[in-house]
């Protein structure tokens, strides 16, 4: 039986591994690994012998995907890393005009289907989806989405034009979802041959063309692991839920202090629930909390929200939580985890009812993922 919970914490300066037993009360910190590299995402693939996969870049050197054992030592870089495609001319001009991030980087790595243990996916900026069939040694572009007919209308967000969410449908191996800022969410039902924009009724960002089927700024997308067709997204404008594989979306953020946020986590044992961290929207602050750091949990169908603040700082906590920096584990009760721009990692072993800091002085946290190994 798996007896250890490991958090992969990607930071501005290296990777840290936080470990605990199933009680998740005491945590040890190991690292930094890949010292000097900015780690945008890291995870443990638990489909076979657990493997660590890390998306990292350095300001002087190019982005790469690293893989290795759980010790964090001896992480090997990919021999043929993902090569992010160019943005279109309109997007480049827009990014330059507003000083948006144009760096080429790998935003995340996700394991492929359970039966294809060597298959991995990666999302990049500028937006690209890549597939590896050899456990991360080499990567090939998935051109059916990278050259999608709507790409001309994909805009960069403040963090770049990022392909930040990759979700496999747990009930149908030929169905998969991806989300891109600022384009929207896409679904394939035929194993990646064709991709359909699924953004109906999701608010568009200001300036998006009226006629386009994209033009929405999804910040994070998650598919519920047990409830067929159940999706959640934290958007630049609102929190949404879908019960039909994304064909339609219902906005569920009524009752939250802000509809803006990045992080999103699900409870694998409760398909009605999602967790978000509302942040003051751009223009008001630094995309940070208003001094009180709170997680909110959705009630049935998002009709109510419960503020979860026990153990979290309620004054002068002007920190942000990025989109890759929130996750849950699969234990019961499930653990919820998030990291902040101030270098804290907060953990809850009781589905968000109470919180404690497992780390307090790390570099700014870019990603948090949880694995039970």
């Amino acid at each position: 039986m798996a007896d250890k919970v490991v958090l992969c914490v990607g930071t501005k300066r290296g990777l840290f591994l936080l470990e605990s037993n199933r009680r998740r009360q005491k945590w040890t910190i190991k690292g930094p690994f890949l010292k000097g590299w900015t780690v945008h995402h890291a995870l443990i693939d638990t489909r076979g012998t657990p493997r660590l996969h890390v998306a990292a870049e350095n300001f002087a050197f190019a982005a790469n995907a690293f893989s290795g054992g759980l010790s964090g030592e001896r992480l090997k870089p990919s021999e043929t890393p993902p090569q992010p495609p160019d943005m279109n001319a309109k997007a480049k001009k827009f990014a330059k005009q507003y000083g948006l991030d144009m760096a080429r980087r790998i935003w995340l790595i996700e394991p492929g289907p359970a039966k294809e243990k060597k298959v991995l996916y990666a999302g990049t900026a500028p937006a690209g989806l890549f597939r590896s069939e050899n456990g991360g040694k080499s990567w090939e572009p998935v051109e059916s989405i990278n050259k999608h007919r709507t790409r001309k209308d994909w805009s960069p967000g403040a963090g770049g034009q990022s392909h930040h969410s990759i979700q496999l449908d747990p009930h149908d191996p030929s169905r998969m979802y991806v989300a891109i800022s600022a384009a929207g969410t896409f679904r394939t039902d035929d194993g990646g041959k064709r991709w359909k924009p699924i953004n109906t009724a999701v608010a568009k960002y200001v300036g998006a063309p009226d006629e386009t089927t994209v033009g929405t700024c999804v910040h994070k997308l998650r598919v519920h692991p047990t409830e067929p067709g159940r999706l959640f997204q934290q958007n630049h404008v609102g929190v949404y839920r879908s019960d039909d594989h994304g064909d339609t979306w219902n906005r569920i953020d009524k009752g939250l202090p802000y509809d803006f946020g990045f992080g999103l986590a699900l409870n694998p044992h409760d398909p009605e629930t999602c967790y978000v961290i509302p942040l003051e929207p751009e223009g008001y602050a630094f995309r940070a909390t208003s001094g009180a750091l709170n997680v909110y949990r959705a009630g049935a169908n998002g009709k109510s929200w419960k503020k979860l603040s026990k153990g979290l700082p309620q004054k002068h906590a002007h920190v942000s939580v990025l989109r890759q920096a929130m996750d849950s584990d699969r234990l019961k009760p499930c653990g919820i985890y998030f990291g902040t721009g101030g270098g804290q990692v907060f953990v809850s072993a009781d589905e968000g009812a109470s919180w404690s800091a497992a780390a307090e002085y790390l570099p700014p946290v870019y990603s948090v993922t949880a694995a039970v190994v």
Partner: protein
């Protein structure tokens, strides 16, 4: 001065690239720094991805130092070498 035969030199990587290359310092032969870098890329192909924009241009913020002298980026590829030269690759770090 232009070397007529290949020189034996050392090439050293910065710490962050050691995670990529798996080595810190190697001895290589070449008439120019470009030759030596090609030798390093032949041995460790992924280094090209991390260091070069194209076949002859270093990425921005990548600095090449030959025997304690910084080589201008546009001269790196063609700079001649003599036996015993030491080439260091650095990250250019600025700020105050």
């Amino acid at each position: 001065m232009t070397s007529v035969s290949a020189a034996t030199v050392t090439l050293e990587l910065p710490s962050v690239l050691r995670a990529v290359a798996g080595w810190r310092r190697i001895e290589l032969r070449g008439r120019t720094i470009g030759d030596v870098l090609e030798g390093a890329f032949e041995r460790t192909p992924i280094l090209r991805h991390h260091m070069m924009l194209d076949s002859t241009t270093l990425r921005p913020h990548v600095l090449c130092v030959l025997n304690d002298s910084t080589i201008p980026r546009d001269q790196v590829h063609s700079t001649s070498l003599t036996d015993g030269d030491e080439i260091l690759i650095h990250q250019a770090i600025s700020g105050g």
